[in-house]
Amino acid sequence: MSGEVRNHSTSLLRTAVVDLKKQTIKLLETAATDAPSPFGVIGLAEELRSIWSKQVPILQVFAGPLTGTGAPGSGSYGFSWRGAQPQEATTTFCEGRLGAMMKHAGIDSIVFFGCANLPVYLNIAEEDMELCDASALRKLGIKELTDSLLFDNDWDDAAVLALAAADETGIAELVADYRFPIGWEGLAAVFAQMNLQGIVVAGAMGLEIKEPEEFVAACVAVYAHKNSGIVDDDRHYKEVATACYLSPWHQNGGVELAEDAAVEDAFTSLDEETLILRLLGLYWDERFPLPDRLAHGARFLTLVSGNSWSGDRLKEAVRQLKRTRPAVLEKGGVGK
């Protein structure tokens, strides 16, 4: 499968559905043309509706159509979950390598539901997916746990998300790739509730770019603009966020938490433009170095998919998504 090239418009959208109670993994495939929006798989595939309406806790990790393509800041991926507390479905986004690596492993989304009897972690090495026993890893610190999770994955550069005790406080925390905290308390609590200790993903599939030359030129233009104001002081760089696909204009030393830190649904807390960009897989905010972020997002989507997209069409798509989403995700919704 390493030689496989995935196409945003024509490839199947793949969702791994993991039943933690029964310890089973099913792969659901949905035609991209059946996806209800340009945002691909986000818990809306018809097959997932019944799961969403019946299961608590439930957690979905999903990547956008531009996640992992190499567009600047194209590491945005999201989590939708519904735990015991609160009961409402919540969606939030973060950035890093996990979403991109899921795409390279041929997976657009992973849905976990139920609670495992013993601690487990999900290990994905391209076509091989397995739930592994994590009982012995339960009380390890972040570094030891990440080392252990990586040890079982044969790939060199796997992306890791680990639920571990933070060194200083001992409080459980979700940490990506050794050093990037994903600090939403509600999300870590759902992992803990499910007995899910971590996710390890690696893969080598290619993501097709329909217009590669123009795509590269568009990326170069963004970076050139960003770099035009850069300061040549190497101590400055050590403070810059350091994970693949992190937005290069973030300078606070880690995964962005400020606006998404509260357990608050991104669909209501984010402005429309930012939400669209997050759903596309672009972790852009007002610091994006060029005017009209949405037009740039639409352009990148056009260059990747080969279909023409505009800001207005994306706005219409996200409004449609907002209208249909509650019926799909909330308890007692369509699938009941």
């Binding site: 030689g3 600047p72 080598a204 097709e208 990326c219 170069v220 770099n227 190497d234 760089y237 693949c244």
Partner: protein
Amino acid sequence: MKIISIDATKCTGCGICQVMCSVSKKGKAQPTQARIRLRRQWDIPEHTLIVCQHCADPACSTACLMETIAKSPETGRVEKDLEQCFGCAACSVMCPIGAPVYDSDSAKVVTCDFCGGDPVCVRVCPQSALTYAEPKDLSVNLREKQARRFFKDTGGVGV
């Protein structure tokens, strides 16, 4: 002859160089197929760059069973006749840093060709950590930079 060099104090390990290399050369985002690679060391963190150095006496040339690799006297670059390559990867094995990459589409082993003199990886690096320059210039720049840092760290007046 210019080469691509990394300033490890600036590199954040984002890997955009790899992704863009694969998009540029193969039309798809596939970092494992890039001709430039980062070996990430998150603990330090200082990341290492693996890319053809166009050595003065290239081991890959010696290793090639088909004698397709040679150092060009005009450009100084290590060049390869890809028509003859059958993908045995002996060059990759013999290379001290393992720079040659097996291209799964063409079934040949390829190396960085500097994109014809304007490398995409250098242009897109968000931290300007990659430089395409003469080795002697890189050496001078590095020494100056370290001297500046030393003076700043020790409270000196700077250079």
